[in-house]
Amino acid sequence: MYQKYKDVAEFRMIYIKEAHAADSNWPMRYAIEKGINQQTNYKDRCTTAKMLMKEKKLTMPMLIDGMDNKVNAAYSALPDRVFLVRTDGRLGVAADRGPWGFKPGLKAVDKWLKEYRETKKEPELSEEALAAAKKKEKTKKK
């Protein structure tokens, strides 16, 4: 997808804390095999991220979440999640978290960017979604 749409959109992968580290309560088999524990420092997180990029041959620019996991928390992203940010700063796609949301999220992003490329306009937000978001923003301000 990055290769397909990098001319019309910016892409960033954000490396967040491990979801199923070897030393977690719910470890993945490959995490145990490769000895991937939850990182306790930023340098180790970068090392594992580099390992991922190399093994999966990723070319997308990658950002690393801090050890305070602040960005992960702000986006409620664990274990994985896909978003598309419109140029007005609103979310055009906000997929569900985890395996049930990741692939549908990528599909939604693909659909959004396809339309954007064809029409040269960002797909409009539904009135209901926009009204609900603005209502939430007002409540937060109070």
Binding site: V8, M51, S76, D80, V82, W112
Partner: protein, 78 residues
């Protein structure tokens, strides 16, 4: 005979009720899971993060001004 039929009918009703409740519970669980966090049309939380090589910093607020939509993919090795 009638009593037997009555018992079977009552059992059937119970099964339907229990499966209905279970489906409702599953639906509620799914709704809760899906409603967690941000939704379409909400403002994307701003952040600044360093790139993997540590040489640059990505600032969402500045990147938005670039007039290109931004795809954010969160994940980890595991």
């Amino acid at each position: 005979m009638r009593i037997g039929l009555g018992i079977i009918a009552a059992l059937c009703c119970c099964i339907v009720l229990v499966s209905d409740l279970d489906a409702q519970r599953r639906g509620d669980r799914k709704k809760r899971r899906n409603s967690k966090g941000l939704k379409v049309a909400e403002m994307a939380p701003e952040f600044k993060l360093k790139s993997l090589d540590g040489k640059s910093e990505f600032d969402l607020a500045k990147a938005k001004k670039g007039k290109k939509p931004i795809v954010l993919i969160f994940g980890s090795y595991t």
